[in-house]
């Protein structure tokens, strides 16, 4: 039997605050309450990633500091303790997982948060008062804790007091009877949300309010111009949500999400921009190309740095210390490109671009006759993009130049973005199958092109390092090993291509995407 904690909220009709330590009365002679020691004051900070990875995984991470103790506590969906780690310094700023003390807690978190930073999402102070619930033998069977919590950030607001009943081991049945009794007491209601969720709701925040997915609901009969404007507005929201984190360089995913939103915007403008009024698409395409280009150097260097451990693991003759000067060089390059990126995102050009773009998107109205309709429009665009992928892919053979595969990769991306943009028109299972098939092909093409670009960049880096005479020969030799590994990976991807494309272009593969373009119409 689990030691499940039951929680209640003390509901007060007059909204007056319950004095600290006031407990609901128990009208049953089988149980009595005894002192559980003096009240404790806790400062609490809840942490999560920008995209709520912990919340979505049913986890809650809290830093709590009281007199003489401070710890990080990871709890699960039902409030069960997953891991706890004593920490000395309060977490006031965003931190990456490797900045936390090593141990079971950081190991557990690492698999969920990945490269994302943990950010403080709410702060509160709690006054905790405990009582021991005794049975007729005066044996403690459970601990009752009243939590008087006041949210302090993002804004100051008191929350209704909560009571938690934590059974002692072996006394779950008696504690459950006590909890049932408490549930019947006047002014007591079962807690629907955790303390963390209550704190967020009190602050007016909705947990899970950010996702990089295009979570818009389109219908087949709505005018395509409105559907496209809705999608583009959502993509602009994503861009703007990620700008502060990108400028502050909190973690690499802010830039990644920003970049994807820009790429999706560019694809939508290219593939579906014709339904927007006048020359809107044509006017904005160069601007979003500028924005995309602005983000490229930093992201490319991020990819190198994120893959550094894998690069080191792949060394056969070279060693990590030999490669370290290359890592330092990459970091220096990244720092410089990040400064340029931040300047670009703070520039008047970007500010004007986003404000004008949002304004124009808001002005988009349904055209006379409300045609074309989104369903038919999406189906025709998806069918056209699909045909182009099939046509270009079918003429690629062993003698085709790398550019042919690069071009096919672009077409695949356009098809993928169209599928994602119009996903809400499709059956979820059919959409998942179609995207999965396409994703397998894209992964192969991506590996082929990324390894080629990285080999070319590696040559540029090596020339610069040699020209600067700043690194020993061993570093260049180790970089040569990395270039060789990249060449092998590229060769392997090229070898895989025919099989992957055959699967995508097979009657079943064609039917999967065909089902979507048919279903949408």
């Amino acid at each position: 039997m689990l030691n499940a904690v039951r929680e209640f909220v003390l509901v007060q009709a007059d909204e007056a605050r319950t004095p600290a330590g006031s407990f609901p009365q128990l009208a049953d002679p089988r149980f009595s309450l005894a002192s559980g020691g003096p009240s404790r004051r806790l400062r609490r900070t809840w942490l999560d990633t920008f995209d709520w990875r912990l919340f979505r995984a049913g986890l809650s991470l809290e830093f709590s500091a009281g007199r003489g103790t401070s710890e990080l506590v990871l709890t699960g969906r039902d409030g069960e303790l997953v891991a706890v780690e004593p920490v000395t310094e309060p977490i006031r700023r965003p931190c990456l997982i490797d900045e936390l003390p090593a141990g079971p807690l950081s190991e557990h978190l690492a698999s969920v948060v990945g490269v994302r930073a943990l950010l403080p999402v709410a702060r509160a102070t709690s006054v905790l008062t405990q009582r021991r619930a005794l049975n007729a033998d005066e044996k403690t069977i459970a601990v009752l804790t009243v939590d008087q919590m006041t949210l302090t950030q993002p804004r100051r607001v008191p929350t209704p007091p909560r009571v938690a009943i934590s059974p002692l081991r072996g006394y779950q049945a008696q504690a459950a009877r006590l909890a049932d009794l408490l549930a019947l007491a006047p002014g007591v209601a079962p807690a629907v949300h955790s303390a963390f969720e209550s704190a967020l709701r009190a602050a007016g925040r909705n947990p899970g309010d950010y996702t990089s997915k295009i979570d818009v609901q389109l219908t087949g009969d709505m005018p395509a111009a409105l559907a496209v404007a809705t999608v583009l507005t959502r993509l602009l929201d994503t861009m703007q949500a990620n700008v502060p984190g990108t400028i502050r360089d909190i973690d690499t995913e802010f830039l990644h999400d920003l970049r994807i939103a820009v790429r999706r915007t560019r694809s939508v403008l290219k593939m579906a921009g014709s339904v927007l009024p006048g020359s809107m698409a044509a006017r904005y395409r160069p601007e979003f190309k500028w924005l995309g280009d602005l983000t490229t150097p930093t992201r490319d260097l991020d990819v190198y740095l994120l893959g550094y451990a894998q690069m080191v693991a792949g060394l056969v003759a070279g060693t990590e210390p030999e490669l370290r000067p290359f890592h330092e060089y990459l970091e220096a390059q990244r720092a410089a490109s990040q400064r340029q990126l931040a300047r670009g995102l703070r520039s008047a050009r970007f500010t004007h671009l986003s404000s004008r773009w949002r304004h124009e998107l808001e002005q988009v109205a349904a055209p006379p006759g409300r045609r074309p309709a989104t369903g038919k429009f999406a189906a025709s665009r998806i069918a056209r993009a699909h045909q182009r992928v099939l046509r270009n892919g079918s003429v690629i053979n062993a003698a085709s130049p790398p550019e042919a595969l690069h071009e096919l990769r672009k077409l695949c991306k356009e098809l993928r973005y169209l599928l994602e943009v119009f996903a809400s028109l499709h059956d979820a299972a059919a959409q998942w199958r179609a995207v999965n098939e396409l994703k397998a092909l894209q992964d192969c093409l991506g590996e082929f092109q990324d390894t080629e670009v990285q080999q070319a960049e590696l040559r540029v880096f090596a020339r610069q390092l040699m020209a600067d005479r700043s690194v020993p020969a061993e570093t260049i030799l180790a970089m040569g090993e990395i270039a060789a590994t990249l060449a092998l990976r590229q060769r392997a991807a090229r070898g895989e291509f025919a099989g992957r494309f055959a699967g995508f272009a097979s009657p079943r593969g064609v039917a999967r995407i065909g089902a979507l373009s048919g279903a949408a119409s």
Binding site: M1, R132, D137, E138, K139, T140, L168, G170
Partner: protein
């Protein structure tokens, strides 16, 4: 996980008082402790206000029909759990005899608790039986309270010889003088001389103190209810010796 047993063939020598106080002090130092009250008289269970009842009785527990961890109760003290006594424990020998490897059954039952506890303290009934043999096989340290009389010392010799003759695992022995009557010259003489001559006898000796007897009124270890008392001080000294002898030298973090 270390297993320490408060054991003596004789009754009324202070086994339960030792077991509950050593278990409490270990828990207070941050070790995760389980006290198993193996005595059907259930004195340790009574002291912690836990009902002396195990679902299915000793038979189900020994046969493995009910997992040991389902019978465990938390005490009112942090880090200290209790596996209560049950009146059916009076037939434990019988139940053990029905098992395939009767002499090592207790050790097998404790094995799944290895990750959960740092110390298991056994409060044993006074006897020399199949259960005693199980205790010897399961424990790392036998903690033997002795009343300082010539006969008691002879009993310790018998026990030492018996342990030396065991096949395979042999527990260490740490005897200590208990219930010393300071008015009796013989008590003082034996308790004063023997620790210097024998390494298996602790330096600490626990006098007969009314505070220890009052534990049954307070229903709590004297080390918890009167931590500043003379009795508590003696038990703390004994705990230091037990900790070192059992190889529990490092206190757990957070203690």
């Amino acid at each position: 996980m270390k297993v320490v047993a408060a054991y003596n063939i004789k009754g009324g020598v202070g086994k339960t008082a030792t077991a509950v106080n050593i278990a409490y002090l270990a828990a207070a130092d941050g070790y995760r402790v389980l006290l198993w009250d193996l005595d059907p008289q259930a004195a340790a269970s009574f002291l912690f206000r836990v009902k002396p009842r195990v679902k299915g009785g000793g038979k189900a527990l020994i046969a493995g029909k009910r997992p040991v961890d389902l019978a465990i109760k938390a005490t009112d003290f942090d880090n200290l759990d209790l596996l209560p006594a049950d009146f059916t424990y009076r037939n434990l020998d019988l139940h053990l005899d029905g098992e395939r490897k009767p002499a090592t059954r207790l050790r097998s039952l404790l094995s799944p608790l290895r990750r959960e506890y740092d110390l298991v303290m056994l409060d044993c009934p006074p006897s020399i039986s199949l259960l005693s043999e199980n205790v010897l096989h399961a424990t790392d340290l036998l903690l033997v309270p002795l009343i300082p009389t010539t006969l008691s010392v002879r009993t310790l010799d018998q026990l030492t010889d018996f342990v030396a003759g065991l096949d395979g695992h042999r527990p260490k022995i740490l005897a200590f003088f208990s219930m010393i009557d300071r008015r009796k010259r013989l008590h003082l003489q034996i308790a004063g001389e023997l620790p210097a001559r024998r390494t298996d006898v602790a330096v600490t000796a626990i006098p007969a103190l009314s505070m220890i007897e009052r534990m049954s009124v307070q229903r709590a270890p004297v080390t918890a209810s009167s931590p500043r008392s003379q009795a508590a001080r003696y038990y703390r000294e004994l705990w230091q010796e037990v900790r070192e002898r059992a190889g529990l030298s490092r206190a757990r973090p957070g203690s």
